[in-house]
Amino acid sequence: MTDPRPPRYFEMPETDTSVHWKPPHAYDTTTPVTVWEPPASAPENGTDSALDRALARPGKRRRGLFALLAGSLAIGTAQCGVAVYEAWQYSNWFSGLWAGLGVLAAGFLARGVFKELKRLSRLRRHARLRERLEDDSAPVGTLDDLARHMGLGRDDPHLLAWQQAQADHHDERERQLLFEHHVLAPRDREARRLITRMSTETAALVAISPMTLLDMGLMAWRNVRMIDRLARLYGLELGYASRLTLCRHVLSNMAFAGASEIAVDMGAELVTMNLAEKLSSRAAQGLGSGLLSARLGLRTQRMLRPLPFREEERPRISHIRRQLWQQVKGSNEAEPR
């Protein structure tokens, strides 16, 4: 039996610069738990991802706001507390009740803020985890982190199927492949169904709505709901702030994708469908809103999916537009020109 060689002998191949591919001995000396648990509030140098940057940017601006809010909350609570005490001393019951109500309100507010922050940090963690999985050399255990992070219960059938599919000799890439198949693929299918359904519904609603103002409201409401549901599908719960950041990022991403892509997605569609001949303007608006909404949904899905889509698997709008077209045509025929 040979002695195990010293670890330095194995550090030669390509990945010198990465800290991940140390031989297993290296993990023995340190405590493994601290290595894998991503620090929830240390974005110093890990912020090179697009999503991460987008999420981190407002941090500085908000710090003042946050201090102000926390300060006034603290002062308010203190003042109300003092008021309750005084009311009790002087038997001034009404002002006492008011003050008590004030303390309660402050408590609710604090809880809300706390929850928001937690959800925001979860979104950020999600982004970071995704980032880590994107390069091939993710450390062992990242996938388990991800499963935990996605809030999959111990008896989740997909998770169980994944665990059952694994063998002890599988490496990270192979485990990732299986994770995609067993855990993500069902969610991808569900997401696609959701996007298709919601965007066709949006199209139909817009097509029959009588006012432009109502259209806009409709669009906003439906799309936010769609994003929410997509997020929940991939194991994220969105609060106000996190929803806002996500929406903003999705939108900026869509804008960044550029006019050419939009032209490809929509233009070709509009041309091939010979809209001018066949559709009333209302129905055309409906179709446009539906397509936009579908695009938004797909973008969101792409951003939320913990492992990036492989090129050939990425869902495309062409999968959805046929159904959209049927929907709109139906409503178009129902409506007199």
């Binding site: 039996m1 195990p4 194995f10 297993p24 000799h169």
Partner: protein, 465 residues
């Protein structure tokens, strides 16, 4: 799918539709070809049932329906002894399949549900025919000889005479040096010299573990035993003789006699073998027993690299269009695999795979240049060990539990695999000794394996889409 084509028309279509694959299982002797084929057939027959094939996408999608042996195209050669191999694995005590002595062939019909758009026309159920052949690894090494004449071959053999190898061939070297190329040697003496040469080859293979053993039929002559065509040897001491002078020698001189037999051997032994079995492949898996080569030391390890380089020149690589698929198929995708990965702990598989890529870097470069997709794997066709975690020794240390060939239950850490070629000083200091294992007795279900599924998906995944 209310309307589908009638059956006979469908068969014609399938031939054109790329549903026939001939897989080249390439490996030197003891590389693990027979074990690989046995496992491959076993896994495919159990696909979708109890085989552990999670990494095959068609299995994950529940599209692979199973496989059956069907009549092979060439009825004159024996069937691959799958049942015998399984019987020896199921016997008590279990044993590895016996070393291969001759050619055998097997055809598998793999049923699957297709995902292609053409399914609406041809029906959803499709069949992929997979042709497999098995042969003694010794014979494979004859293929590079086809590209050489006697003079070149003698030169190659002379250059391979390292001191380690010389030790095994000493009797022959001594006796052969008594005869100059222009001398006339009696038939009887020639036969004796050839016998000494053959003995030397046997020893170098068996005791030294050397790979580049030519001619391969000398080790496994079959029905050619004692025929004059197997009574020749290379002339390794040709210093002072120019090629012209040698060619001008009379026909009964030693050089000309050996040369004539060499040419005869090429024409009547190697060429038919090559033509009938090694020309029409679509896919290839190259099995390399890296671990045993590491055990044998630097001279053997370097020779393994040289041998694999020489071997890979003997196959046709290129893209297959419809035309070439029907008439002159070429290998358009290949996998190279380090076999017996169950001899080391799973955390060493990466290193094993990297080492294999380094060992095969020249062929891999050529593949890349020819734009042939190739990938390296660390593989165990039939897994003989189980992995254990040693809790109270050092946290997370891994060890293997299995039975050695001496029939002892062991729990051992087999040693690290280097991911690059070790240098001289390391060989002098330490070296390797990976322990071979007895197969675990197989009772029912599919054979345990390591990464057969990944390899299958890579080799055939696009064929059963």
């Amino acid at each position: 799918m209310a309307w589908t084509l009638p059956k006979h028309l469908r068969d014609v279509l399938e031939r054109g539709l790329d549903r026939q694959v001939r897989l080249a299982v390439t490996g030197l002797s003891r590389a693990g070809k027979t074990a690989f084929l046995t496992s491959l057939i076993n896994q495919l027959r159990h696909a979708g049932l109890d085989a552990q094939l999670e990494l095959v996408s068609a299995v994950r999608e529940h599209r692979l329906l199973g496989a059956q042996r069907v009549d092979q195209p060439d009825l004159s050669i024996p069937r691959f002894p799958y049942d015998e191999a399984m019987a020896s694995l199921q016997a008590s005590p279990a044993a590895w399949p016996t070393p291969t002595r001759g050619m055998s062939e097997l055809r598998l019909a793999i049923k699957y549900r297709t995902r292609r758009a053409s399914r609406h026309l041809t029906g959803e159920e499709a069949t992929l025919t997979l042709d497999l052949i098995d042969y003694p690894g010794e014979w494979l090494l004859d293929l590079p000889m086809l590209q050489q004449d006697f003079h070149d071959w003698s030169g190659t053999m002379a250059s391979l005479m390292t001191p380690e190898r010389r030790a095994f061939m000493s009797t022959w070297l001594e006796k052969a040096s008594a005869h100059t190329p222009d001398s006339v040697v009696e038939e009887q003496t020639l036969a004796e010299l050839a016998a000494h040469y053959t003995d030397g080859l046997h020893q170098a293979r068996r005791d030294g573990g050397f790979y580049f053993i030519q001619p391969g039929r000398f080790l496994l002559p079959g029905e050619l035993r004692d025929a004059p065509v197997l009574q020749f040897y290379p002339l390794v001491q040709l210093e002072g003789w120019s090629r012209e002078a040698l060619d001008a020698l009379p026909a009964d001189s030693l050089y000309q006699t050996l040369k004539a037999r060499f040419e005869h051997y090429k024409r009547h032994v190697i060429t038919p073998f090559y033509k009938s079995y090694f020309q029409r492949f679509d896919r290839q898996v190259v099995l390399v027993d890296v671990l045993t080569a590491l055990n044998s030391g630097p001279a053997v390890f370097n020779e393994l690299r040289y041998t694999m380089n020489a071997l890979m020149q003997s196959f046709n690589y290129g893209r297959n269009g419809l035309f070439s698929r029907l008439f002159t198929p070429r290998i358009d995708r290949l996998a190279i695999a380090a076999t017996k990965a169950d001899h080391v702990t799973p955390d060493q598989h990466d290193a094993l795979q990297t080492l294999l890529s380094t060992l095969m870097s020249q062929p891999l470069q050529d593949m890349r240049y020819a734009n042939i997709p190739a990938r390296a794997f660390a593989l165990a066709s039939i897994r003989a060990t189980t992995v254990k975690k040693l809790e109270n020794v050092t946290p997370n240390a891994l060890a293997l539990s299995g039975r050695t060939l001496e029939d002892q239950e062991v729990l051992l850490f087999p040693g690290d695999v280097p991911s690059t070629l070790p240098d001289e000083t390391f060989w002098a200091r330490q070296g390797f000794s990976f322990t071979p294992f007895h197969p675990a007795r197989h009772t029912s279900g599919a054979l345990p394996h390591i990464r057969m599924d990944a390899l299958l998906d890579w080799l055939l995944g696009d064929k059963w889409l």
